[in-house]
């Protein structure tokens, strides 16, 4: 259930080379439904259950061959897929699923409760990202062939979202333990991978699964997903008709696509962009212990200007942690910290830092020069001086988690408020590097986890309001993604999911 594009920070930092692309998605060629070619910014990691990478650019590779238990609807909420119904029970300590009947895997094996059990246990055991998202699942019980019940060790409101992502992929139980599964997937999905026509690490060709249960949702007979890392090549491919669609979070590619008269559909991609103020206990930068200093940083942030100059306008400014449309979103919080330099300076003075202080931050300038410049400037406006320490891409996340930086610019992409809470707000959270624990916040979080139905929204709003008031973060904007398609292809993106699902691409009506 976790799907973070924080990983994108890593990838981008490490890979100067890949810095200009960010794509994956699909579209159809000029209304014909014969074939459809998507460009993706990365090749698939592995088709093995539990090893499949966090959702994002690799989704289409997997969605072509695997069905998930649930999928994400255009409203951003889980919807039926292989599981037709689901219910949280036992005070949030169990999740009961009703399974679709008559579905078979392409090797002939039947999809049933035993297959679900096998897949979920496999994913959990693999200890990958998909497995981590199943952390709350204690056991899987086969009720009957079409019903399974997941026993949880704690309430996990994010579990359904996880089952709509990489944790929910279902492979044939017969192939589950084969080492070949990593490169030769056997699922029940709309397409079958044609290994003969595919080139590992480069071009993946899929042909229609004639027995698929929902063929109408996938109008194209052949699907090709092409790994293309270069932006110019992608645009040229789209222009020359060799590529039908792609998805990206790179504003440059969006600009280029717009300049090239391609269809561009932007949507909320699920990421929270801005400054993450980790050192709330003041271990590295004592000043940050003072909530007024953290608030001052928020007031000193000119979000509109940053979005325009740094993000090229791609995104929605926000000062709260949950995005619009999500549970826990509170419209009022968007204006919690209007740009007010005087107020910021006043708060700094009250906290005893009128003359500011200095901090050491990781140098992200190789990948995020504009972001870093904006951050430097805004910190300087309240007399906080920054010294940057060189760092390499693959050390970034480790150093953040290891508590090396009092704060830094970051983008964390999550699929639900619960995921963000789990990642950043509890004393167990990996992105709570100094293990700040605030009893008040802990209480609110427990309440949010325990809540069901409409009460969830209220409880999450409380959490939201608290961390905004306490200025745990200084968010800039909710990240926007874009789906780019050639003429004749429509796309209906899902908000909060950075890459539109495969079924989102349809011939233009």
């Amino acid at each position: 259930m976790r799907r973070l594009i924080g990983a994108a920070v890593v990838a981008a930092l490490v890979a100067g080379t890949a810095a200009c692309g960010g794509s994956s998605g699909g579209a159809a060629s000029g209304g014909s439904t014969d074939s459809f070619t998507l460009a993706a910014i990365t090749p698939p990691s592995s088709f093995a259950i539990g090893a499949m990478a966090s959702s994002g650019p690799e989704d289409p590779y997997y969605q072509a061959v695997y069905d998930r238990l649930l999928s994400v609807g255009t409203d951003g909420q889980p919807q039926a897929d292989l599981a037709t119904e689901w219910a949280v029970g036992d005070n949030g300590m169990s999740l009961d699923l009703t399974l679709r009947e008559g579905v078979t895997f392409t090797d002939g094996a039947a999809f049933d409760a035993a297959a679900v059990k096998a897949n979920l246990e496999k994913a959990k055991a693999a200890k990958g990202e998909a497995g981590s998202a199943l952390g709350a699942v204690q056991s899987v019980k086969v009720v009957d062939p079409t019903h399974v019940s997941l026993k949880l060790n704690r309430p996990d409101p994010g579990l359904t979202a996880a089952l709509a992502r990489s944790s929910g992929y279902m492979a044939s139980p017969q192939a589950l333990d084969s080492a070949d599964l990593a490169t030769q997937p056997v699922g029940s999905g709309p397409y079958v991978l044609d290994s003969k026509q595919s080139t590992a690490g480069s071009v993946y060709v899929y042909t229609r699964n004639e027995d698929y249960w929902d063929k109408e949702a996938f109008p194209y007979d052949t699907l090709t997903i092409r790994f293309l890392e270069d932006m110019s090549a992608t645009v040229n491919g789209l222009r020359s008709g060799q590529i039908d669609a792609t998805a990206t979070q790179t504003s440059d590619l969006v600009a280029a696509a717009e300049q090239a008269d391609l269809n561009v559909e932007t949507f909320f991609g699920g990421g929270l962009d801005g400054m993450y103020l980790w050192d709330r206990d003041g271990k590295l930068a004592p000043a940050l212990k003072d909530v007024r200093v953290r608030q001052a940083i928020n007031y000193a942030t000119n979000r509109d200007a940053i979005l325009e100059s740094v993000k090229g306008g791609l995104g929605t400014v926000t000062s709260q942690v949950f995005p619009e449309g999500s549970l826990g979103y509170d419209e009022a919080l968007d204006d919690a910290y209007p740009y007010d330099l005087d107020k910021a300076k006043q708060l700094m003075a009250e906290a005893g830092y009128a003359d500011g202080f200095s901090i050491t931050l990781p140098d992200f300038s190789p990948v995020y020069p504009d972001e870093q410049a904006a951050m430097t400037e805004l910190l300087k406006s309240i007399n906080i001086t920054v010294e940057y320490k060189p760092t390499t891409g693959d050390q970034v996340v480790g150093s953040i988690m290891g508590g090396q930086w009092p704060l830094n610019y970051f983008t964390l992409t999550t699929s639900s408020p619960y995921e963000l809470i789990g990642l950043t707000m509890t004393d167990q959270s990996p992105f709570n590097p100094f293990k700040n624990s605030d009893p008040e916040l802990a209480k609110l979080i427990d309440a949010a986890y325990a809540a069901t139905g409409d009460a969830q929204d209220d409880a999450l709003q409380e959490v939201n309001k608290y961390v905004v008031d306490q200025a745990w973060f200084a968010p800039w904007d909710a990240v926007e993604s874009a789906a780019i398609t050639a003429d004749g292809i429509d796309v209906t993106p899902v908000p909060g999911v950075s890459v539109p699902p495969l079924s989102a691409y349809q011939p233009a009506s």
Partner: protein, 596 residues
Amino acid sequence: MSLPTDPTTAATLGHAIDPEVRRAGLVKRLVRIPTAVVALVWLVVVVAAAVLAPLLTSQSPTASDILDALAPRGPGHPLGTDGVGRDVWAQLIYGARTSLVGALIVVIVSLVVGLPAGLIAGYFRGRFDGISTWIASLLMAQPAIIILLVVLTQVGRNTALAMFVFGFVIAPGVFRLVRASVIAVREELFVDAARVSGLTDPRLIRRHILPVVVAPTVIQMSQIFGIAIVVQAGLEFLGLGSANQASWGGMLNDAFQAIYTAPRLLVWPALAIILTVTACALLGNALRDALGGAPAARRRRRRKELSDTGSVTVSTSPDVADDVALQIDSLVVSYPGAAGDREVVHGVSLAIRRGEVLGLVGESGSGKSQTAFSVLGLLPGAASMSADRIQFHGEDLTTLSGAAMNRLRGRRIGYIPQEPMSNLDPSFRVGSQLVDPMRHHLGLSRKDARAEALRLLERVGIRDPERVFDAYPHQISGGMAQRVLIAGAVSCNPELLIADEPTTALDVTVQAEVLDLIRELQAEREMAVLLVTHNFGVVADICDTVAVMRDGRIVEVASADDLFSDPQDAYTRMLLESSVEGAPARKPLPVIGATR
């Protein structure tokens, strides 16, 4: 991205450049080459723009103003702005800084690494040479970009570092060039002489080796400078350059994103790169020309040789006697020089009768070889020649077309060159070099030509014709090679044989045998022979008639007997008297106080 590491040019450079021209004022020479001036001016402009960037624009090259994106040219933005509102002009001149600094890093690193290593390896040879040469070939086998990829991804994007590493990658090119130049000059006698003079190694390197290495290295540096700019642009294009500074490669990359809406953005960085690199290449070429003596007049008119004789006039001289094989009237040969044409043969006239051996004698520079080549139509391309007449058995060679002349050469006029080894094509077997002309001129079948060639080889005194026929030139001795060349010259039964110092490069014992051979063949076939030589012994041995040449003119023509017994011209007399042959031997040294 090509690396200038080709050892061939490296080796030739070492030789081609005459260090003495440094004295003549390199700058003065350069300024005389128009392309060099243009290139220098452009480079100075680029350097000045880079250095004075803050004075030339008040804009920051990296500050973007999204509201002012893709602004047209206008006040404040002399070249407009790019897709995110950065000032193009500022990017261009600050980008020049990045490019020039990067290229400079490459030049310095490659020089610091390659020059000393090349000097030491070339001068001292031995183990260091072996190891460093191996390391160089190891580095040269690495695709530069892969090295850069591996290194840069370990340490992060950084243009300066990339260029630093690239300096190492390209250093073997410098190393090889320096080493080749050093080895070439190391064999020069003046280095031996300096060593015998007691110079220490460091002093010898500084005084005699380094000056020779400087010129080719400077040329190579200008090329490396250009290549570094291209490579740097490529790296920036790949996204491996520092992101927080303006660069031409980065501009190109950005421009491609806007290629459909603002193609003009492509123009500036592309022009900057192309022009600057072109300037570097042109400067390199100009330096080479200036240092090596420009081959400016080279091949000015290749076809001029025989077809264009300018002063062909209807012969006014008396008719040629029947038994005259070759008659030359008023032959003039000149070469273009810095101060107008330089005449080396001034109106030479000669006649050779059938069966006569005419010796054309003179010291170096007298024009005797030029005269011989004029008859063959084989003067170097730059030479121009005219004559009232060069009549060969009734045909005036000055009026013949190239093709008609080709039918005569080899068929009716044979030629024996001076240096046997350099006159056989090293890549072809001796046999084929004999067979080809016979098949061409006489229309012999392959088999017949081979039989004839073997017969000829035997005739010129080669004991094992079959082996020599199948041998490559490097497998036979000089004397044998000269016999092969003689066989080639007479293979089509020519009526006239032109021999240019045919024995000068040979040992005396071989010389005697070769002269015997020429004499026999001449008698056997009643050939007329024009024999060019400086050796009066050779003349006395073989010639019927002698023409003495001095400074492009014939000073005396006489029968061999008359010439030696009663030379008429003072110069001839002086030459004859200079000979140490037959002079009294030196007296033995008295033994001082010896009681032995």
